[in-house]
């Protein structure tokens, strides 16, 4: 299996498991490589580490989800994207977007309604 196929398969695994706390060993298992070997391949052929990629995808996807599903609480969205509580989700969200999930939801609402 070449590196591009491995990266695709890893991305597909992450897409299918966004609600879980995804570990390196789970992805390595899914693509049939050792953790060390997989981590090395991903890092060599991608501009992000696998952890950075997972966080970015979860932030981008949950960002869309919380704007589209306004009736769902931030706590529930945190669980849906594999965070154990709203606090750790808020922290990761603020680091990525420089604002809280609630502020992001309100700001995007304004943009949509303008």
């Amino acid at each position: 299996m070449n590196y591009q196929v491995l990266i695709n398969k890893a991305e597909d695994y992450i897409e299918n498991n966004l609600s879980k706390r995804i570990k390196l060993e789970d992805i390595a298992d899914a693509v049939g490589l050792s953790q060390y070997h997989f981590h090395r391949i991903f890092h060599t052929h991608s501009k992000e580490t696998i952890a950075q990629f997972i966080t970015r995808i979860k932030m981008e996807r949950s960002g869309i989800y919380l704007v589209v599903n306004k009736e769902i609480s931030i706590t529930e969205i945190a669980y849906r994207y594999g965070y154990c509580d709203a606090s750790s989700y808020n922290k990761a969200f603020k680091k990525h977007y420089a604002c809280s999930p609630s502020e992001y939801r309100n700001r995007k609402n304004i943009q949509v309604n303008e």
Binding site: M1, Q4, K9, D12, E15, E60, V68
Partner: protein, 161 residues
């Protein structure tokens, strides 16, 4: 634009794909090359079923959220569910499953943007269906025309709960 027929469908589909990373402008420049790569592979392994095989484009990221250089787009082809795929030549396989709202369009290439907007803003957000967090895709029912104003049949699949 002609009003599309909208259906709700539960699907289970196996596809082979080549994934592109970069802006949609860069993707469009490379799309023919990627499609040819996929077709060559499918011919080599005898995966094309006449009058059944379809080509898809899968949009993995949202262009309003993801940076241009990080956008991932895949050119894919339906293959039989029992097809054995040798993933050795940059070609990956995956299953696409679940419930979708499908817009059946008869449109020209210049109307694609309007069709996508219509699917989300007129049919999904104003309807009773809830969006599901996975990628949407286009399926080409007839070959897209070479002329920008000529029409072909294209289905747009939006994942729903």
């Amino acid at each position: 634009m002609e009003t599309p027929n909208i259906t709700i469908e539960e699907i289970e589909m196996k596809v082979i794909y080549v994934r592109f990373r970069g802006s949609y402008v860069a993707f469009r420049k490379n799309a023919t090359k990627l499609l040819n790569q996929l077709i060559d592979y499918a011919k080599k392994y005898d995966l094309i079923v006449e009058d059944w095989t379809k080509i898809l484009i899968m949009y993995h990221d949202n262009p309003y959220i993801t940076k241009d250089n990080d956008l991932r787009t895949s050119v894919a082809m339906m293959v039989p569910l029992d097809a054995k795929i040798d993933e050795t030549e940059d070609i990956t396989s995956m299953m696409i499953q679940g419930k979708y709202m499908v817009g059946h369009f008869h449109m020209s290439p210049k109307e694609y943007g309007e069709a996508w907007n219509m699917m989300y803003h007129e049919y999904l957000f104003k309807g009773n269906e809830k969006p599901r967090d996975t990628f949407p895709f286009e399926m080409y029912i007839t070959e897209p025309p070479r002329k920008f104003s000529d029409k072909s049949y294209t289905d747009i699949y939006i994942p729903i709960e």
